[in-house]
Symmetry: C2
Subunit: 158 residues, 2 copies
């Protein structure tokens, strides 16, 4: 019998495969798949995504949040976590957490030859802004700038 | 090389094996093990526990929160989820979510013959109170009553 609320079989959810990123960053993350478990279960205080990252793809550009916290737990395959602490390989059963306002950008990169699957949890905060510290990523997100769309670091729109 | 912050190998954490429950409820949940991943990673907006529930044990008494949301994702073994929707078996890869204020108490019970392992995520709210709707569970939690310790439903202390 299929699961019914408040339970959920993630396989029954259609994945989101879009991204708000402008190019050239968009192509570096897609076709990443996100199944929005928390949203499907009616949660509002934090989001939970079951994410599949294909070989060669990045979870996001390296970034940090001013107000929102994030957590990831690897379920299948492996990813490389990139932060100021260097690169670390996270295999199934490993996790990582990113407090708000750290100033330390993070991203996951799948350098293996098979899909990686992980859970990602993130709190939600209306005032949250996102910084992309790497010099080669000219992107910024602030809900108060340019109608909450991604801009270049100088605030100009894409 | 061991993982270093912001990454974490959960196996390196000593589990919490205590419970704030009074008897006879305490014995129904222990020796449940909780590894507090979120706390170890410096997260403050939500908690993440990696929990091992032995055969025959309950995750908690059936309860619901006034302000806090909860989410569980089963990693190993199986548990029975008990809610107003009835009983449902959650195997590895299944999840469930519990919005605040639902009035629908939930608990997980391990009726199998091997340990069940799951991730549990919960938001944090200072005003949160917990109701235990089942008639056979005489317990209540409100931070404003009895110094934030568990009481009977009439507010008297254990």
């Amino acid at each position: 019998m299929p699961l019914r609320p408040p339970a959920l079989d993630p396989a029954t959810l259609a994945p989101r495969t879009d991204s708000g990123y402008p190019e050239p960053y968009r192509s570096r993350v897609l076709p990443r798949e996100k199944r929005q478990l928390g949203k499907a279960l009616g949660l509002r205080q934090f989001g939970v995504n079951l994410t599949t990252l294909p070989p060669g793809k990045e979870s996001s550009m390296r970034h940090w949040h001013t107000h929102e916290e994030e957590f990831v737990y690897v379920l299948e395959g492996e990813v490389v976590l990139r932060t100021d602490a260097g690169e670390q390989v996270l295999v199934a059963g490993a996790c990582a957490g990113f407090p708000a306002g750290s100033g330390d950008g993070h991203q996951l990169v799948n350098r293996s030859d098979r899909p990686a699957v992980y859970l990602e949890v993130g709190s939600s905060h209306a005032a949250d802004a996102v910084f992309y510290p790497n010099a080669d990523v000219d992107m910024h997100y602030d809900p108060a700038v340019h109608d909450g769309r991604f801009t270049r670091k100088d605030g100009t729109p894409y």
